[in-house]
């Protein structure tokens, strides 16, 4: 029974989604109920397979390359699966508040994406993982570029797909190495691969994970992805897609640890992303961009957790962050719909307009800031405790990242909760015409998400954390009371300082360096270092193909014709000429032979006499 539910978790949204996408606008009427209903079923199913802690269902069927198409729920999946399902359901409900999104295409694509995300969580083999992984990338392209009339959004979708696919190359290479390494393509068996191959596998997995999780140096696609509809951001950049990058690394943490270097590489990449993208987030003047950079920075903690073996801490951070960020992206979307803007300066005081939206956003922002006892305060410390064990530098970097989270969350908080300026109305609608209204479907899902943002920290605190550790596996150190208090004090201090600074600089323009506002120039760098050279190379090769390869074939053909002409000439002049010359020579001889035939009898006698004389001479000589 559980096996069937497991299959349905992937098959149901995939089939319903595909049908919705293919049926076109005719099915728009059913899109919302079908979409929301499906995800509601998925939510129930996800809890059903995750929480009979005694049985851990798995299903597998032969697939390819000797590996199975396998789905299974282990402790880690049991924690993350319900989070993905719940956030999906809430986001699809919220999306029904936006008229432009109440289409079969949107809900169909979202369901396809959810199917891929759930399959990623459940995958037990590399081919299964790669399958869902790439479908997730492709559907994210279609979702980000949902408003395809706008070239900018579709090109953002392309950027997202191509960037994440670049990192996916790592998974293909890892699959090859796993096949060669002798341990098979089961994810759980990868640490047993033979020496050198295991290094290749780990490297491939790290690259793939960093790409999806929008860690450095791949982060820029996340910035571009903000062109997509807000519910898309709320799902892709909280519980799925980006989160799946972190999830993959948590899942393969034993493989990373087995190499002795890949875990450190992941830890440092995560810490670097937490710090640098935290700074980027602080410098943003657009709410969605701030949230995007913050997503990459927060995923940095998850990646760091994978690197230091804090699987339980990383998983709880992933889940808590999903609730926080889904709520915040939905709130940003609500304001964008209602007020027509997502610029922070234009949103000044927006939190005073709709109290429920405001309360939920404030709760989520405070959680993001790491204010105790809210969720992210505790989960992040569960990660940092393990980091401290490994390296003090990592721990300090992590604390810095936490301080930056407090700073940028507070920055958004202060702006949103200020008094509404008198000229507010004139600053709205810089992106689209706002509706000045918030439908119930849009704000209702914020409540459970905000509750999660407030309360999910219990997962990372005693006594529950011990159970979570047991569920997920791993024996990472739990945060000490000292560490918890330290980080609480740090958060409070940064919040207070930020509020003070923000009130101080009121009205003045902020002078953030462009390197931070422009996301470390990652996208222009990628363009200059990768995209342009490839385009130039492609043009050069195409020219070479026409001008050298094809031309030489044509030249060979032309040469053949010329050779044929020369042969024809030779045939005419030399061969045929020789024949003609022989013939004319024979003719001349014939003419000569006719000369003696004069008809004069005395001449014939003379000729006979001459011949006789000749014969005599010859006879005499020969004898």
């Amino acid at each position: 029974m559980h096996d069937l539910v497991l299959v349905a978790l992937v098959a149901l949204p995939a089939v319903v989604g595909a049908l919705l996408v293919l049926s076109g606008s005719g099915a728009d009427r059913f899109a919302v109920p079908v979409g929301v209903g499906t995800t509601a079923l998925l939510t129930a199913a996800s809890f059903a397979v995750s929480f009979p802690a005694t049985s851990r269902p798995t299903v597998a069927t032969p697939f390819m390359a000797g590996a199975d198409l396998g789905l299974g729920v282990d402790g880690l999946a049991a924690l993350v699966l319900p989070a993905v399902a719940v956030v999906s359901a809430l986001v699809l409900l919220a999306a029904s508040g936006t008229p432009a999104l109440r289409t079969a295409r949107f809900y169909g694509l979202m369901l396809l994406f959810v199917a891929a995300a759930l399959m990623t969580v459940l995958a037990t083999t590399l081919p299964t993982l790669l399958m869902s992984w790439e479908v997730m990338g492709a559907t994210s392209f279609a979702l980000i570029g949902y408003h395809w009339r706008d070239q900018e959004t579709i090109s953002s979708g392309t950027t997202a797909f191509l960037t994440t696919r670049t990192a996916d190359v790592g998974l293909y290479v890892a699959a090859g190495a796993a096949l060669a390494g002798g341990a098979g393509l089961e994810l759980a068996a990868l640490p047993n691969a033979s020496g050198g191959w295991r290094d290749v596998i780990a490297a491939g997995l790290v690259v793939a994970g960093l790409g999806k999780a929008a860690q450095l140096p791949f982060s820029f696609w996340l910035s571009r992805a903000m062109h997509g509809p807000s519910p898309v951001s709320a799902l892709l950049h909280s519980a799925a897609m980006v989160a799946m990058g972190g999830y993959l690394l948590l899942r393969v943490a034993p493989t990373l640890a087995a190499t002795g270097w890949a875990d450190d590489a992941a830890a440092w990449a995560g810490a670097a992303s937490a710090v640098l993208l935290g700074m980027v987030a602080l410098a943003q003047s657009d709410l969605k961009q701030l949230l995007a950079a913050s997503t990459a920075a927060q995923l940095g903690f998850v990646v760091l957790a994978a690197g230091v073996g804090a699987t339980a801490g990383g998983a709880t951070h992933l889940v808590a962050h999903a609730a926080v960020k889904a709520g915040l992206f939905l709130a940003a979307g609500i304001w964008l719909e209602a007020l027509g803007t997502k610029r922070l300066s234009s949103l000044t005081g927006a939190a005073r307009l709709w109290p429920v939206v405001a309360a939920c956003a404030v709760a989520s922002l405070l959680s993001l800031a790491g204010l105790p006892p809210l969720a992210l305060w505790a989960t992040k410390d569960a990660v940092l405790a393990a980091a401290a064990e490994q390296s003090p530098t990592l721990y300090v970097a992590g604390l810095l990242g936490a301080a930056l989270s407090a700073a940028y969350a507070t920055k958004a908080l202060v702006v949103l909760t200020r008094h509404i300026p008198d000229d507010a109305e004139s600053r709205y609608d810089d992106e689209r015409n706002g509706t000045r209204a918030v439908p119930t479907a849009a704000w209702l899902p914020l409540l459970p998400l905000a509750a999660g943002a407030l309360l999910l920290g219990v997962l990372a605190l005693p006594p529950l954390f011990t159970d979570v550790q047991e569920l997920v596996g791993g024996t990472a150190p739990e945060p000490s009371t000292f560490e918890l208090v330290m980080s609480a004090l740090l958060a409070v201090a940064v919040i207070v300082a930020t509020v003070a600074v923000m009130l101080g600089v009121q009205g003045r323009r902020s002078g953030w360096p462009r390197v931070l506002t422009d996301w470390l120039f990652l996208e222009p760098l990628a363009h200059r270092l990768v995209v342009r050279p490839v385009e130039v190379l492609a043009r050069r090769l195409a020219h070479l193909d026409d001008a050298v390869l094809d031309r030489s074939v044509e030249a060979t053909a032309g040469g053949t014709v010329r050779l044929a002409r020369a042969a024809a000439l030779l045939d005419d002049r030399v061969v045929d000429g020789a024949v003609v010359r022989v013939v004319s020579g024979v003719r001349r001889l014939g003419g000569l032979a006719r000369r003696p035939q004069t008809g004069q009898l005395h001449q014939y006698y003379l000729q006979a006499l001459a011949v006789l004389a000749l014969v005599l001479v010859v006879l005499v000589l020969v004898r």
């Binding site: 996408v21 293919l22 076109g24 069927t61 032969p62 697939f63 390819m64 390359a65 000797g66 081919p127 790669l130 399958m131 869902s132 790439e134 479908v135 492709a138 392209f141 570029g145 395809w148 009339r149 706008d150 070239q151 579709i154 090109s155 392309t158 797909f161 191509l162 696919r165 670049t166 190359v169 293909y172 290479v173 699959a175 090859g176 190495a177 796993a178 096949l179 060669a180 002798g182 393509l185 290749v200 490839v534 385009e535 190379l537 492609a538 043009r539 090769l541 195409a542 193909d545 390869l549 094809d550 074939v553 053909a557």
Partner: protein, 497 residues
């Protein structure tokens, strides 16, 4: 009569009947569809009755005297390497027949020509005799020449001639190689089963190398691989839609099929010695094809170059299968399985793409990618089909291309790690297809997109059929892989002798 012989001679007979001038256009189109549908049904029947034959043997075999003087017979049969291609061929021809239901230019002759081509293509894939194989190989070139020159557009005459001369020249090299195999075999024979069971030229390094070189040259032109591919873009861009679909979908596979059916099992020593050359040609074809395709602005030329890229994966994989390494037996089998899967997958997806390109040309008489914009608004069904086909071609999971490419990469990288550079090919193809989608289908409706009518059932049904099969393989690959894998295992073993 043997089922395979019916499969080959039924369309031939139908083609002969269609040569009667009094048959009306409507009847001819109908016959075209009915016969190709019957062929599909027959191929399914062969599949249903198929039991994996013993190593080195063939299923559904038939042998009859033909030219006993030179040890050549009419010998046909299928195994795991050829059966999938047979089924794919019948599918592509049925799709073409439906697409051609509105053909106005000499429909009777076109139907006859394509039924003749179907017979020839199927004949090649079931041949178990080198002379028979060669006859079908050359007849396919003749048939395609008439298809391009008689029903093509733009510079069709010149492109057709180029296609004919180039591939015909390649076939001569192939014949030279076949004669080499014949001369070296003892007793002299052209029988493929015999030659596979007792490969001649084992241990004759130079002679084996020369014969392999001749065979490889012939197959490389047909496939085509870098640097013998320049006949392909003009042939495609000037061919009629169904001509392109058959050329890319079925006829290119004759080259790659030759690798797995002839070159590898009959010249294993030489193949292993020259595997590095094959791998290098494969890698270069993958990257060259992808990059040059990226620079194209003409839809058909772009798809043509992606064919060079996709066939490059096949070449790469069969090359890697020739590199023996400790414990790499499974990887070599995976690579060969991937290569055969890729032949099937590419046939389905490229045929779909070329039929769609044909629908575009029917409306606007141009393949210029920059001439469109926002086409998804005016032709949503067309946009959906094109998007699915494009994503399939760039190797998206849940379509057949992923099943093929995953196995090719995993198998090749595990045997020859340097082949990992070829994975970049899937990135470049992703970039070029997304950019093409973006240019043609998104943005404000502009240029030639204005007034572009959406595809009719006659156009979308065949494409949807091809794509549905691709999705089926992508989601439930075992149906296909259960047939291919035993054949691939046998081949990997034969190459290792």
């Amino acid at each position: 009569m043997n089922l395979l012989s019916v499969l080959v001679f039924l369309p031939l007979a139908a083609a002969a009947v269609l040569l009667i001038p009094r048959i009306s256009a409507g009847v001819a189109r109908g016959v075209f569809v009915v016969v190709t549908a019957a062929e599909l049904a027959l191929a399914c029947l062969v599949w249903a009755r198929y039991d994996t034959p013993a190593a080195g043997a063939l299923a559904a075999e038939e042998q009859a005297r033909w030219i006993p003087g030179v040890g050549s017979s009419y010998h046909v049969g299928v195994d795991g390497l050829s059966l999938p291609l047979v089924l794919m061929t019948t599918l592509v021809f049925l799709a073409c027949a439906v697409h051609a239901l509105r053909e106005q230019r000499r429909p009777r002759l076109q139907a006859a020509l394509f039924l003749f081509l179907e017979a020839v293509c199927l004949g090649l894939f079931v041949s178990a005799d080198l002379i028979l194989f060669f006859v079908f190989f050359d007849l396919s070139i003749v048939g395609m020449y008439f298809s391009i020159s008689g029903w093509g557009h733009r510079d069709a005459a010149r492109s057709a001639l180029k296609f004919f001369l180039y591939t015909f020249l390649g076939s001569l090299a192939l014949l030279l190689g076949f004669v080499g195999l014949y001369v070296a075999s003892d007793p002299h024979t052209f029988d493929m089963v015999e030659l596979t069971a007792h490969p001649p030229l084992q241990g004759h390094g130079v002679a084996g190398g020369l014969v392999l070189a001749a065979v490889l040259l012939g197959l490389a032109v047909k496939t085509p691989t870098f640097p013998f591919h320049t006949w392909l873009p003009p042939a495609h861009s000037d061919a009629p839609a169904i001509g392109s679909a058959v050329l890319a979908g079925v006829m290119l596979k004759m080259g790659t099929y030759g690798f797995v059916r002839i070159a590898m099992p009959m010249l294993p020593d030489a193949w292993r010695a020259w595997a590095w050359v094959v791998i290098a040609v494969g890698i270069v074809s993958v990257l060259w094809g992808a990059l040059v395709a990226f620079a194209q602005t003409d839809l058909k030329r772009m798809i043509a170059y992606t064919s060079v890229n996709h066939m490059g994966y096949v070449v790469l994989a069969v090359g890697a299968a020739g590199v023996l390494a400790d414990g790499a037996d499974q990887a070599r089998q995976v690579a060969v399985t991937g290569a055969v899967t890729q032949m099937v997958s590419h046939g389905l997806l490229t045929a779909a793409l070329f039929l769609l390109a044909g629908s575009m040309f029917e409306r606007t008489e141009t393949y210029d990618l920059d001439g469109y914009g926002g086409l998804a608004g005016t032709a949503p069904r067309y946009a959906t089909l094109f998007t699915v086909a494009a994503f399939g071609s760039l190797g998206l999971p849940a379509l057949s291309g992923f099943i093929a490419e995953f196995q090719i990469f995993a198998g090749s990288i595990a045997t020859v790690p340097v082949t990992a550079v070829a994975v970049l090919g899937i990135l470049i193809t992703a970039a070029l297809f997304l950019r093409a989608l973006q240019r043609v289908f998104t943005g404000p409706t502009a240029g030639l997109s204005v007034g572009f009518t959406d595809v009719t059932p006659r156009e979308w049904v065949p494409v949807a059929l091809l794509l549905a099969v691709s999705v089926f393989i992508g989601v439930l690959p075992r149906t296909l892989l259960d047939v291919i894998e035993p054949g691939a295992a046998v081949l990997a073993h034969l190459v290792g002798r």
